[in-house]
């Protein structure tokens, strides 16, 4: 609740800064996100222990809160060098929502997964969530890119034109988390395979989500290839990255909520 409130306060500060309230307000917004993250981290490490888990995944709400934490971690720690203030406007309310969602159903029953404390399982879960968080940040940057692109095409020199970074900088903000995400997702797939062997005696469980995840990683790999190796740039590449994120979204929420098997979010099979 405290973390959620801090993220929400950060959002209002970001909004005020965006509307021209000045540098001080902008600094405070970032400070609030950071404090929110610290509070979030404290609860994140203290809550699951009471449920006999290392990572809180016992309910959809808990998963949301964990995802929020991963998102804040990737933004504040992994992408510290490429942080942009404009992200705050999108990220702060999202974090607030995710943490708020976490409050609703945090205390559901324990998971029925066979070996929740297996290190492979913990690593698989951690890397997968960080990968999704990275893709979410890349997605946020894509949205900002398209807004700035539209502003430049409209030729009016409005607020967004002034406040948002350059197209070049935004492209970097799309690419960097994307590269992180692909690396983490590939790692998550590899570790997941090892965990399946140790938990179920087979490397391949043939889960729809596993297949979809491989597809998502492949899609992003192609995008990275086009951007980095083939030097493909611009709006078309950004739109492709948005399409890639819809697969991430479907994979994370769609298949997890509706699907069957180990990756089902509630209780599990």
């Amino acid at each position: 609740m405290i973390a959620g409130s801090l993220y929400l306060a950060a959002f209002f500060f970001h909004l005020a800064a965006f509307l021209g309230a000045g540098e001080g307000v902008k600094r405070w917004a970032l400070v609030l996100v950071r404090i929110g993250f610290l509070v979030h981290t404290f609860f994140f490490f203290s809550e699951p222990k009471t449920e006999g888990l290392l990572i809180p995944i016992s309910s959809f709400g808990a998963i949301m809160a964990f995802f929020g934490w991963a998102l804040a971690f990737v933004y504040l720690v992994l992408l510290a060098r490429v942080q942009s203030e404009s992200f705050g406007l999108i990220l702060a309310p999202l974090l607030s929502l995710l943490v708020g969602g976490g409050l609703l159903r945090f205390h559901e029953g324990p998971t029925s997964l066979p070996t929740p404390l297996n290190p492979y399982f913990i690593l698989h879960l951690g890397t997968a969530f960080f990968a999704y968080a990275s893709f979410t940040l890349s997605f946020a940057a894509s949205i900002l890119y398209l807004i700035q692109y539209r502003e430049l095409k409209r030729k009016r020199g409005g607020t967004f034109y002034h406040r948002l970074p350059s197209l070049e900088a935004l492209e970097g903000l799309i690419y960097q988390p994307m590269a992180w995400g692909v690396f983490l997702l590939t790692t998550a797939i590899g570790i997941g395979i090892l965990w399946a062997k140790s938990a179920f005696g087979t490397y391949w469980l043939g889960e729809p989500k596993t297949l979809m995840t491989i597809g998502v990683a492949g899609f992003y790999l192609v995008l990275i290839y086009f951007h980095y190796v083939a030097a493909s740039r611009g709006k078309r590449w950004v739109v492709m990255s948005l399409i890639a994120f819809t697969f991430v979204f479907f994979n994370f929420f769609g298949l997890s909520l509706l699907g069957k098997g180990l990756h089902q979010m509630f209780g599990g099979s």
Binding site: Q148, K155, R156, G157, E168, S232, R233, G234, R236
Partner: protein, 436 residues
């Protein structure tokens, strides 16, 4: 009484033809300061002479400086007839003068609101006056506070945000597309003055001139040489389109020479790398439909001017906030000045009370040391309580700008003798030391 005075002419009411006749060239500044030191030895002076204004700032502790004297100096120094500028000049005194310098430093009195150049020009004028030894404590503090306020306003508000001239808008847009410019390649079609200026601005920002196309080979080669670029003929420029990032078009061609098909083909070869096209020619050199192509950003002269106007509107929105900072800075400065003026009177009043208390203690003739100490303590308390109300009134009137009247009242009520002449000098020296 400390006086502050501004006499000058600026872009608002004085045409450039007149301003340029009154302009103090850097070479002649020492001569002007020499004249001022000789003619007005007790007056502190600063000369701010830019393309938009010629202003003389004065402060003095005693005496008067009439407009007539200043006009005669300007006419004699520049060798012009006073009737040419006298009706256009303005004279500001007191708070009006103080506020004017703060507004000038903030860029609120500039032709382009919030422009940064004036702050540098004022700093330079201040430095020149310091070197010529024509500024002492009052003008020193006045200019210093104005420079500080100008800097603060630019940091705290967005008064200087956004480019407001065509070449600088082109740079701003290029930076919004390519980020900080670092070797982005430019091609120029035509050798007009505006294209040269835009190219110059883009190069200063970090872009690199690569090709210059001109129908006149001689002119084209000359411009290319100036900017370290290559001249290309009008038959071959198209094939270089895939290499460059920014194209400036300003030829005298009566129809568009950069067509949709040309750019579309180039974009395929460029793998969608963004292309920024600047069309500052009239009639236009680039087909407007090109802007519909993905990753191509076409701005003609009207578009650039519209962005400049939008930026200017944004700056104007900040004026109210900037004015508030100026009022605060002026209040603080005036409080300092009035504090200086009040200092000697307070000192006199304190001395007067000390004498009264001492006389009364003597009259009571205390017998023991203990009794004397008690009476001294009583006198000290009485003095402190008595002074509280006048000091608070002085403080209040200093904020209201009416300190002089209060001081006069105190002098008259208590029949205080005039302030010793050296007291202000002492304050002045200590203040100067604190400033350094």
């Amino acid at each position: 009484m400390i006086q502050f005075l501004v006499y000058g002419l600026n872009h608002k009411n004085c045409p450039v033809e007149v301003r340029e006749t009154l302009h103090f060239r850097e070479k002649r500044l020492p001569e002007a300061f020499e004249w001022i030191r000789r003619e007005w030895p007790s007056v502190e002076t600063l000369i701010l002479s830019t393309c938009n204004r010629v202003e003389l700032y004065f402060s003095m502790e005693t005496g008067e400086l009439s407009s007539e004297t200043i006009v005669r100096f300007l006419a004699a120094f520049h060798g012009i007839d006073r009737s040419q500028f006298e009706p256009l000049a303005y004279r500001l005194e007191g708070r009006g003068a103080i506020e004017h310098l703060f507004r000038v430093a903030a860029g609120l009195d500039s032709m382009v609101v919030g422009e940064n150049e004036i702050l540098g020009q004022l700093r330079e004028a201040f430095r020149a006056a310091q070197e010529a030894n024509t500024v002492d404590s009052f003008l020193y503090r006045w200019a210093q506070r104005a420079l500080q306020a100008g800097k603060l306003i630019r940091t705290k508000t967005k008064i200087n945000e956004g480019a407001v001239s065509v070449p600088s808008v082109a740079v701003e847009l290029a930076e919004k597309i390519f980020g900080r410019l670092a070797g982005e390649k430019i091609m120029v079609l035509g050798t007009g003055e505006m294209s040269e200026l835009t190219l110059k601005n883009l190069r200063q920002a970090g872009a690199e001139a690569l090709y210059v196309m001109s129908r006149s080979e001689e002119r084209g080669r000359s411009l290319a040489e100036t900017f370290g670029a290559h001249w290309v003929s009008k038959e071959e420029w198209e094939k270089f389109l895939e290499e460059i990032d920014i194209l400036i078009a300003s030829t005298a061609a009566p129809h568009p020479i950069v067509t949709l098909d040309t750019v579309r083909r180039a974009m395929e070869r460029r793998r969608r790398r963004p292309l920024f096209l600047i069309d500052i020619a009239v009639p236009r050199n680039i087909e407007s439909e090109i802007n519909s192509l993905d990753d191509v950003h076409l701005y003609n002269i009207d578009d650039l001017q519209e962005v400049a106007q939008a930026n200017l509107r944004l700056r104007r929105k900040e004026i109210r906030q900037a004015e508030a900072y100026i009022q605060q800075a002026v209040d603080e400065f005036q409080a300092w000045v009035e504090g200086l003026e009040a200092g000697p009177t307070i000192q006199l009043l304190e001395t007067y009370l000390d004498q009264l208390v001492e006389e009364e203690i003597q009259r009571l003739a205390p017998r023991t040391e203990e009794e004397r100490e008690r009476l001294t303590e009583f006198g000290r308390r009485l003095r402190s309580k008595f002074l509280r109300a006048p000091l608070e009134t002085l403080k209040e009137s200093s904020h209201l700008g009416s300190v002089r009247r209060t001081l006069e009242a105190l002098h008259s009520l208590f029949q205080l003798r005039p302030a010793p002449p050296e007291s202000l000098d002492e304050i002045r020296i200590s203040d100067r030391d604190a400033g350094q």
